[in-house]
Symmetry: C2
Subunit: 463 residues, 2 copies
């Protein structure tokens, strides 16, 4: 090697080492700001306790739009604005009722209508109930066994996967497609075991999807304890078949006008290249939407607040996007991607926090393999001191998903907190502020800010 | 390289790969047993709800000794026995009372006597109170400022360290040494800010150590909210100094006979070489000792149960040791080490779980650097699928600590769960079964069993 080449190589190496060292100093400053002066926890408290449930189309959702816009304005972000989006407007109505009728016994059990479900007749539905574990069983049983009955989907969460999201994914078809599939065989209603590892007394709601032009039958989630009791009674030999009664008067109103809420720090070098960080502002109606997804929303706002508090001038424009309608339509995510495409925006990366406000473990990164390897080797050592260094290939989130096709080349990133407690409270009356730990929330906000900072430094043109 | 050498090398490599592959199959079996058929959660429920608080010398501690011995016998472990140990016997007595007296106002605040503390006089102590942040300040203030006063140690947890144990370590001198140090300057009592990040209404108790032959003054922990209020009032300008009243009638009774509880699976190849896995059976008196350390105890029993359920025949003897008196004396840990030395036992490794039953992150390993590197490179890939692959140099635990000098060459290992929530409930009335998550507990038991299995496979004679 010639001396001149050696010198150039040494310069390149030393610059890279220097960059790493500066980055690690900046990360420590970010964490200090999040942990010492953090706003995410008190903001989450307001969102949960002063606003509360925020199902799309509800008054709560509208209040949340107005309040989050106001706090981002108060923080002095460079731009704060709303993005119009028409959203489904489903309402639960009166509290549901349900009973297992086994011989002379009638046992009340807790249910909650699935989002999007139709109502039962006013007097409710009473019918024999039949337990199945899979959608495939419907075909085997056929109309002969299913017509006029209520179908009870009771396949539990598999306890073996380490990440609870895997078990959720494995069981989720029962809730999403069970009602529309059962209807094809003449079933009159569907009861779905709550999607959780936890054996508890709460029904866990969530959306179901009817097929367009399919028959719509009413569907509800039953608590896991209720499901276990129902399954037990169905196994008892008896001359009289077990029946089930349920009553719900939910309905779908006309679509409503709502909004994505967006705050920006304008890029100093590339104001027209965007890094998005977001969560969803809507929540289910049964509680405060604390972990799902108040935490993701307040962490996303906190990313911009921290960068601003540090007087950091981003090169790219950093956007906090509070998506509307993730839970039952994804209209906000779709609208954001549609406008990004329409306006030919250049998007560097989008990050989503929608897996709870628990202790951070790392990030899932949807990038080409070679880029992923490069990012992993650069970023992992930087996040190791913060125990948030699990960088895995693949990831993203529901709301940022539509960006993948809309703006080719974008890197999608899913913030990954610890998953163990998430489905204990997800979509239940227990998803309240009290179940969020301040430090866990703040560590997540810090990790997200750190990664946004690192992306902004290079725009992926690393080394 | 000669062909014969190449063949040998290939054989060695393929054996190593084969061992890794067998190990990964065994780990998966261990996790399946823990997650599908686990007993740790129901055992913990019994320990917490049927037995409850287990402070050394109490009836609860004795019941816990008898019950854990019985369940290990019922599991059919090869040997189950008790190890006698004399333990301190401190009792709290009636609930403590405390008030801030500021001018005309008298404000009740929650306190709890520190373990080992002496009582106040029957009528309590009322005295001017002075706030300090550090032990060093006592020297600066001297007898002139401190004599006849109550000293209020109010240095909060530093929010910046990522691991909460670091903040605990940084603040802990106030509780451990504050009372004996303040007494040297004529202070008449000590109030210590609870050792936690959480701003809450519970005093967090814990042990204090008086110096032998030193003056013993009564000492108590105050809730962090109470501490903040007291500090605020002390900053208000006033003609009349703020006083503090507290009353407690705790006392130290004569030492009591108690026990370490030990269960063994006898080694098939090296029955006289031991791998210890343990937690402490005693707990503070304010709650159920769920995370501290019911989880560690039931995980340790579960390690042996899982191995037995898998019909695994360990090479070395595996011991579950349920130590008595970690909280206020460490007599059980000392006795175990003393007997190991006396009996010239050969100990391969000892592992302790005493950091809560939260989601596992990894293990701290106290081994020579070269061995540590070797273990890390072998074990980390095996634990990566379980998100429990943070293997760090250094570690152990209070109860296994005395083994280090007693049996040279032993490798000490501290099980490391997520630390964020631990000090929210540590030593408080909130340390109850309901605050333990089933899967987090079981994942910890699985990780511990996996590491015990891996140690047993090689006895550290790796590659």
């Amino acid at each position: 090697m010639k001396l001149s080449k050696l010198i150039i190589l040494l310069l390149v190496i030393s610059q890279s080492v220097l960059a790493q060292s500066q980055d690690s100093v900046q990360l420590r400053k970010i964490y200090d700001e999040a942990l010492v002066n953090g706003h995410s926890y008190k903001n989450l408290e307001y969102l949960c306790k002063q606003i509360g449930p925020r199902l799309s189309g509800s008054a709560g959702a509208q209040k949340a739009v107005e309040w989050t816009k106001k706090i981002m304005e108060d923080y002095g972000f460079d731009k704060v604005y709303l993005q119009e989006v028409m959203v489904p407007h489903w309402v639960r109505g009166e509290k549901e009722q349900a009973k297992i009728i086994a011989g002379n016994k009638s046992i009340s059990v807790p249910i909650a209508a699935l989002g999007g479900s139709v109502a039962t007749p006013k007097a409710g539905i009473t019918a024999p109930i039949i337990e199945v574990q899979t959608l495939a069983e419907l075909k085997t049983l056929g109309e002969a066994q299913l017509k006029g009955k209520i179908v009870f989907f009771n396949r539990p969460f598999d306890p073996r996967p380490i990440q609870t999201g895997t078990s959720y994914g494995m069981a989720g078809d029962q809730r999403r497609s069970g009602p529309s599939e059962a209807a094809k065989y003449g079933a009159v209603g569907v009861i779905v075991r709550s999607l959780t590892h936890s054996i508890d007394d709460y029904p866990h709601t969530g959306n179901t999807s009817y097929e367009a032009n399919g028959i719509k039958i009413p569907a509800a989630a039953i608590s896991t304890k209720g499901a276990n009791e129902l399954s037990r009674l169905l196994k008892v030999k008896s001359a009289v078949p077990v029946k089930f009664f349920f009553k719900q008067n939910c309905e779908t109103l006309p679509d409503a006008l709502s909004y994505n809420v967006i705050g920006e720090l304008t890029g100093s070098e590339k104001p027209n290249e965007f890094i998005t960080v977001g969560g969803h502002l809507d929540s289910w109606d049964l509680a405060e939407g604390a972990h799902d997804d108040g935490t993701g929303v307040m962490q996303s706002v906190e990313v911009l607040r921290i960068l601003k508090a540090m007087n950091y001038k981003p090169k790219h424009t950093i956007r906090a996007v509070l998506f509307m309608n993730e839970e039952n339509g994804l209209r906000g995510g779709q609208k954001y991607a549609e406008l990004a495409k329409l306006n030919q925006e250049k998007h560097v990366a989008a990050m989503e926090s929608d897996a709870g406000g628990f202790t951070p473990r790392g990030f899932g990164i949807d990038a080409p393999l070679e880029l992923f390897k490069q990012l992993k080797s650069t970023w992992q050592p930087l996040f190791e001191p913060y125990d948030t260094d699990k960088l895995t290939l693949g990831g993203g989130g529901a709301d940022i998903g539509p960006l993948k096709n809309a703006v080719p080349g974008i890197v999608l990133i899913g913030f990954r907190p610890d998953s163990q407690r998430y489905f204990d409270i997800h979509h239940t009356p227990n998803d309240v502020f009290e179940n969020v730990n301040r430090r866990e929330l703040e560590l997540g906000a810090a990790a997200m800010t750190g990664l946004v900072y690192l992306i902004d430094q290079t725009g992926f043109k690393v080394n």
